[in-house]
Amino acid sequence: MSRKFEEMLEELKEVVKKMEDPDTGLDESIALYEKGAALIRECERKLADAELKVTEVTEK
């Protein structure tokens, strides 16, 4: 899990919001759908790949 996941999730929310906006045209919506679907795939991959790792702090 990285900060990137958070950004991807934010981007995905934006995509959905834009698609649900009645002012967004069909062409743009199709492009958004492709972008959103790719983001979802990436998010799901990251969620599935998450792994517990325990380390001990090292002195600065």
Binding site: L9, V16, M19, G36, E44, L47, A50, K53, V54, K60
Partner: protein
């Protein structure tokens, strides 16, 4: 009062006060901040637990071989709050005020709170620290920062062994496994506060959120988490901190300095990472929402096309042409009607004219017995037109006759 001049001078009578009056003076005298809401340390003697629930005892102290004591009263309503059973010989600290019970003239220390001396003094120390640290602004609400939504690395300050670390690992492993960086420390003991503060500082900046945790324990066990050194380390930490010390009911000053307080270490773990299944559901839900949105747009576009198509159909154009045609033919008919009417009118007029003409035609005149004289093909209109010997044709009803003029008479 007027003095009778006859009576010789006497000493004035001594002032005599009422009991109520002197009680009032005593009360006033006791109304001194040195005697109100104060803590007294002393050994309990002559302890009596009255059946009404009130406690009567003395607090005593020996100084330089001399005994000092003050009578104490703790009403049942206050005694309910005691978390130990007082007994003779116990050294305590008590909060209260010196007052006089006017109905009996008893002067005593009316106790509101009482604690065993050792632990009690630690409580007081915590209260003092709390005031000082609050005055420094370390507990201010505006210092609190939000926790990151999806931390990649979580720092944990706690003992290397024990249930607390295991609980945190279990919860994070179950909800959203990520990297956990342990900063091990002693969590109790005389120097624990130094270690805890150091463990926090080492982690700062190396992780995205820090959990400072300890399992349940006595007030003394949790005491290091009240220490200003720990409080300052947490307050000055650039990384957001979640405190989880003891159980739900335990409160330490570290909680006040942390960005969030969790009732238990497990609860802290739940606070710092989201539930992966929930996030996955949200992500999956996004797909549904996108599909719905797209479907709606496709449907709307389809409807629009249908509408345009129907408006462009030849059938509709044909209908429009027919409409125009009908209009034209109607106009045509109107025109025809108007022309016919005109013709009709003309015909009538013509008939009248014909009749009129017929009345004037030569034939009609001839039939009445007149003749028309013609000379050289022209009608003879006057006698002057004729000469003797002229050949004249006479037209009359039923034929003509050629004649010669014998004589012309002018009139």
């Amino acid at each position: 009062m007027d003095q009778d001049p006859a009576v010789p001078w006497q000493e004035p009578a001594p002032v005599v006060l009422g009991v109520a009056e002197i009680s009032g003076i005593i009360s006033d005298a006791l109304d001194d901040e040195r005697l109100q809401e104060i803590w007294i340390r002393g050994e309990i003697t002559s302890y009596k637990h009255h059946h009404s629930g009130h406690r009567y005892f003395s607090l005593s102290e020996q100084v330089s071989g001399r005994n000092y004591a003050i009578k104490c009263i703790m009403w049942q309503s206050r005694a309910q709050g005691l978390d130990f059973e007082p007994r003779d010989g116990l050294v305590v600290i008590a909060l209260g005020s010196v007052q006089v019970y006017e109905a009996r003239g008893d002067l005593g220390f009316y106790v509101q709170e009482m604690l065993p001396a050792g632990a009690g003094e630690k409580h007081l120390l915590v209260e003092k620290w709390k005031k000082e640290l609050a005055a420094e602004g370390l507990f201010a609400e505006e210092r609190k920062r939000p926790l990151p939504a999806f931390p990649a690395r979580v720092g944990v300050v706690t003992a290397r062994t024990g249930a607390v670390l295991q609980d945190i690992l279990n919860v994070i492993g179950r909800r959203f496994p990520i990297e956990i960086v342990l900063s091990p420390t002693a969590v109790q003991g005389d120097l624990a506060h130094v270690e805890i503060a150091r463990a926090v500082r080492i982690l700062d900046g190396q992780v995205e959120v820090i959990i400072v945790a300890r399992g349940g324990g006595s007030f003394d066990d949790l005491f290091p988490f009240n220490h200003p050194e720990v409080v300052r380390a947490i307050a000055c930490c650039c990384t957001p901190v979640v405190s989880a010390v003891g159980h739900e009911v335990d409160h330490v000053l570290a909680d006040l300095a942390a960005d969030r307080r969790a009732p238990t270490p497990s609860a802290a773990a739940e606070l710092v990472v989201p539930d992966r299944a929930e996030v996955a559901r949200e992500v999956g839900g996004s797909l549904d929402r996108m599909r719905n949105a797209l479907e709606k747009k496709v449907q709307a576009a389809g409807l629009l096309i249908e509408d345009l198509k129907s408006r462009l159909q030849p059938r509709r154009i044909g209908r429009r042409i027919n409409d125009s045609r009908e209009e034209v033919s109607e106009i045509e008919e109107d025109l025809n009607r108007a022309i016919l009417a005109k013709i009709e009118r003309g015909r009538g007029e013509l008939g009248r004219l014909v009749a009129l003409l017929e009345g004037r035609s030569p034939a009609t005149i001839l039939s009445r017995g007149y003749c028309i004289a013609e000379k050289d093909g022209r009608v003879v209109r006057a006698a002057g037109d004729l000469r003797t010997g002229d050949r004249v044709r006479l037209r009359m009803s039923g034929g003509r006759a050629d004649t010669r003029i014998e004589k012309v008479y002018h009139e």
